[in-house]
Amino acid sequence: MKTYWKWSFACLVLLGALAQSVQANQLKLNVSLGQTQLSAGKPQNTFLKVGLTGFEMLSDRDRTPVNVALVIDRSGSMAGQKIAQARQAAMLAVNRLNKNDIISVIAYSDTVEVLVPATKVSDRQTILQAIERLQAGGSTALFAGVSKGAEEIRKFAAKDKVNRIILLSDGLANVGPSSPSELGDLGQSLGRERISVSTMGLGLQYNEDLMVNLAQRSDGNHAFVENAKDLARIFNFEFGDVLSVVAQDVTVKIRCADGIRPVRLLGRDGEIAGNLVTVPLRQIYGKQERFVMLEVQVASGVAGQEKAVADVEVTYSNMKTKVTDTLTSKVNVRFTEDIHLVEEGENKEVMVTAIQMVANETNKLAMALRSKGQRIEARNLLMRNSVILQDNYKKYNDSRLQKYSQLNLDQSEAVMEDDDSAKYKGARKQALEEQYIQDAQRAW
């Protein structure tokens, strides 16, 4: 008998370990509702969160090879410290790559120069020397720079690589298409091709709408680098992400059950067709969590009823095992007449995140109003946002809400400043970066 127990125990341990190891090579899917219990008898809205967490790819050898294009603004305004820091940052980036990676370096002013055509990072010296040659002067053909970057990426683009354009700019694009919507469309187009564009805005003069749109629609990162000295650090973060991609082509499909109507996606582009919601998440880095937040309207239910809310299916290319994985999950909701149960049934984490994201949408609206010159409306909206966040902070006691509330309050002052004041410019760039971080769940 003892032997039997020993053996079963051993088997269990083995199975457990196996299960662990299997799971350590897959994304973790976590579908949860803001409220697991809803009041019966009336239709109401709640939030559905589909969270995906990556895993660690431990060794440098194991990690997915990277295909990176550095697109660097070398217009006249970059002269001096900025271009020097950009050079430094670029060289740092090169040093973090290994010989399986591919890098290209493109510099743009009024024209574009491909300093380093797409090449394996085997001859580091030549690449570094080419970066040394980077000099500033001219206007800003941002569109051309990004396009050339995309072309270089395409030379070695592959499913088993992480394809990334990293764009650095300090100024307003003034040669070629330069509206935020156009660049956003380009971002979407490139994103579908599995090329993401990370944008770094340097200083106070760049067009933050353009940079955020481009990054967001292609699922790259966006960062507001107020001081050139921070460039190297930001580059490091970015490369940290790029070198730790564990899943690509992540697609989340949420099929809502009967009586459940998808209202809106918060913070992400997605496709809502009838009761099917399709959201491309694209990339998951390391052990970070990225999620889709969907606001749904639940039809009125009967107390005691358990209702299916949605079936969730997630497909992605696993960069470690090199196969396409599919994960599925379901989520239900219960109806009750007891308010206390409703309160207890709240998923604090989901709610806090949802509240932040809703506030984020309001923040976007406020900034848009301010762009049109409606300072007072913008300020009022931001102040109201701040108050709501503060109230919710009291309810949920999550410091994130308080921080965000304070941020909105500060912004409400900044929007009263003039368009060309440093305070407003800085605040707006910061606001857009913050909006982006919320939407895309940037980890740094």
């Binding site: 024209t111 574009v112 396009s147 072309e151 298409p177 509206s179 579908r192 496709e271």
Partner: protein, 575 residues
């Protein structure tokens, strides 16, 4: 040096130079024109190559799109899934065999993207879009004729102004987009409910089955790709404009260190720069050296080639190539001119030397001659009348010395004439006396030849004249008579004075001057036909000297027509 000679030399030197310079400049201009043409052809060639690169790219895309538009399923969900990973397509659409839009469905439900697409293409699908109809040629179907006004029998439910506003609102932030989307939903639903006209013509029998459609929206050219399948359905793909631009930028060269001079610019339909490459920065107001539109379906976009001005302007060095040859020729010609001048001078010098020599000789001869004459005359005086033979011999000596004297006198005069050193020495004298003297000198010669002089002298008054000149003239004339007209047996000399003009005529009865030779006899060295002059000594300068002297004297020596023989008339003006 005579001015005429200078002029001639100048002409000799300058004319060929001018000719060469002119020909050279023509050649240089022609060369430049050719080079310009070549340059243009080169530039156009480059632009054409670029244009073809674009066509190749479109052709590749066409292949991909042909595959993509082969739909396995026409369910909206499947179509959405199908196009999702393809970055080059913004939206697929399907037009059924009944020529109505079937996907995205005009009645919904739509995704946000599909709604936006319907709004965008509202104008496009409102009018007769010809996918493969009569007017289209693959791969472009024309759309420039898209009218801005809807046809009269199509009434939209919202005014164009409202639509425009909504379209503009599309560009705003997502919040406002939400609102406008709701409005758009309403509007598109309304549009779907209104009766649609037959939008698409039925396909031609052998028309193209796929192609591109360039479509103007928001002041830019957008591309649609369409394919008609065997059931008459049209499956289309909307290409995001910005992605097309981006791919073209990727296609075209970058500006590297080894970039050629000049700059090429890609422009959109509005003339806005999309992309440019090349080291040269064109200044404001610079005109492109060459321009070319892209080929359809992107013929609204164009390429411009800028070159720095100094590459276009003809090099000044061109002219420098002509200069050396011109200079060389100039040098040669000047050398030639100088040579000829020196040769001419030498010849002249030699001639002058010869003349001067002759002059000297003649002078030298004169003195002994005078002595011989003097003593001969003395001898004549001492001749006995009883010794006619002695008298005759002396007579001959006298005649011959006389002749010699005349000859020398002629030569000297001629020489002076050549040197333009003839001078008159007028004195007061009686012409008749001079005539008599001269005639007297000729007496022995006349007697020997049997010529009888007849004198009709009426110039007894005193006038101012160069006696030697008159003597020389008369002497030459009488000498001619003696030489050429002895057969006439007589010579008549008449003289008269009228005012200040002295006229002397000498008429002989010899053979006369043949017709046509009246003027040539007066030319130096001219002696009439050999028949006449055979056996007769003479230099041929007598008459020319006589005339020159007469003319110097303000008068003339000419031949006067006479019945037989020759009649010379001397006119001298009293000085």
């Amino acid at each position: 040096m005579k001015p005429r000679l200078v002029l001639v030399y100048c002409l000799i030197v300058l004319t060929p130079l001018a000719l060469l310079a002119w020909v050279g400049s023509r050649m240089v201009k022609e060369n430049q024109r050719q080079m310009q043409e070549q340059m243009e052809r080169l530039l156009q060639g480059r632009l054409s190559d670029l244009s073809h690169t674009v066509q190749m790219y479109l052709r590749n895309r066409e292949k991909e799109l042909l595959r993509l538009t082969r739909l396995q399923s026409f369910r909206p969900e499947a179509i959405r899934e199908h196009a999702r990973q393809y970055g080059f397509v913004r939206q697929l659409f399907v037009i059924g065999p009944d020529s109505r839009l079937s996907y995205p469905s005009p009645t919904g439900p739509w995704t946000q993207e599909e709604e936006a697409f319907l709004l965008r293409t509202r104008k496009l699908f409102s009018y007769r879009v010809d996918f493969g109809g009569d007017e289209s040629t693959p791969p472009l179907s024309n759309d420039e004729d898209l009218p801005n006004q809807p046809p009269a029998n199509l009434q939209p439910n919202l005014s164009d102004q409202q639509i425009l506003e909504m379209e503009q609102q599309q560009e705003a932030s997502s919040q406002t987009q939400q609102r406008s989307v709701q409005q758009a939903r309403l509007q598109v639903r309304q549009q779907a409910n209104r009766p649609l006209q037959q939008l698409f013509r039925p396909p031609r029998k052998n028309g193209p089955s796929h192609g591109w459609h360039a479509w103007y929206w928001e002041r830019g050219v957008h591309l649609l790709f369409w394919r008609r399948d065997e059931y008459g359905r049209v499956i289309g793909a909307e290409i995001p404009r910005v992605r097309l631009l981006s791919d073209l930028v990727g296609l075209f060269p970058d500006t590297g260190l080894s970039s050629a001079e000049g700059r090429i610019v890609l422009l959109d339909a509005n003339g806005k720069r999309i992309y440019q490459w090349g080291a040269y920065e064109p200044k404001r107001g610079d005109e492109p050296a060459a321009m070319r539109s892209l080929l359809p379906p992107l013929k609204a976009w164009s390429l411009e080639y800028y070159l720095p001005a100094d590459m276009l302007k003809p090099k000044q060095g061109e002219w420098m190539s002509v200069l050396p040859s011109v200079l060389a020729l100039a040098l040669a010609l000047v050398g030639l001119a100088v040579y000829f001048y020196r040769e001419n001078n030498r010849a002249l010098r030699e001639a002058a030397q010869r003349v001067s020599f002759v002059n000297q000789v003649s002078h030298e001869l004169r003195t002994p001659l005078t002595n011989i004459r003097m003593y001969a005359e003395l001898l004549e005086n001492q001749v006995d009348e009883e010794d006619p033979a002695m008298g005759k011999r002396v007579s001959v000596i006298l005649t011959e010395t006389e002749r010699l004297s005349r000859l020398i006198g002629n030569v000297l005069t001629f020489s002076r004439q050549q040197r333009q050193a003839l001078k008159l020495h007028p004195v007061r004298a009686v012409p008749d006396r001079v005539i008599e003297r001269v005639t007297e000198n000729f007496r022995p010669a006349f007697v020997a030849k049997g010529i009888e002089p007849k004198l009709e002298l009426n110039a007894g008054g005193e006038v101012t004249l160069d006696v030697d000149a008159l003597e020389q003239i008369l002497g030459n004339l009488l000498g001619n008579v003696e030489k050429y007209a002895p057969d006439g047996k007589s010579v008549t000399i008449a003289s008269s004075i009228a005012g200040d003009v002295l006229t002397v005529t000498v008429q002989d009865h010899g053979p006369g001057i043949p017709a046509g030779k009246e003027e040539t006899v007066f030319q130096p060295f001219v002696r009439l036909s050999e028949a006449l002059t055979e056996g007769v000594a003479g230099t041929g300068i007598g008459l020319s000297i006589a005339r020159a002297l007469a003319r110097m004297h303000g008068g003339e020596l000419k031949l006067v027509p006479s019945e037989h023989g020759a009649c010379f008339e001397i006119t001298l003006r009293s000085q």
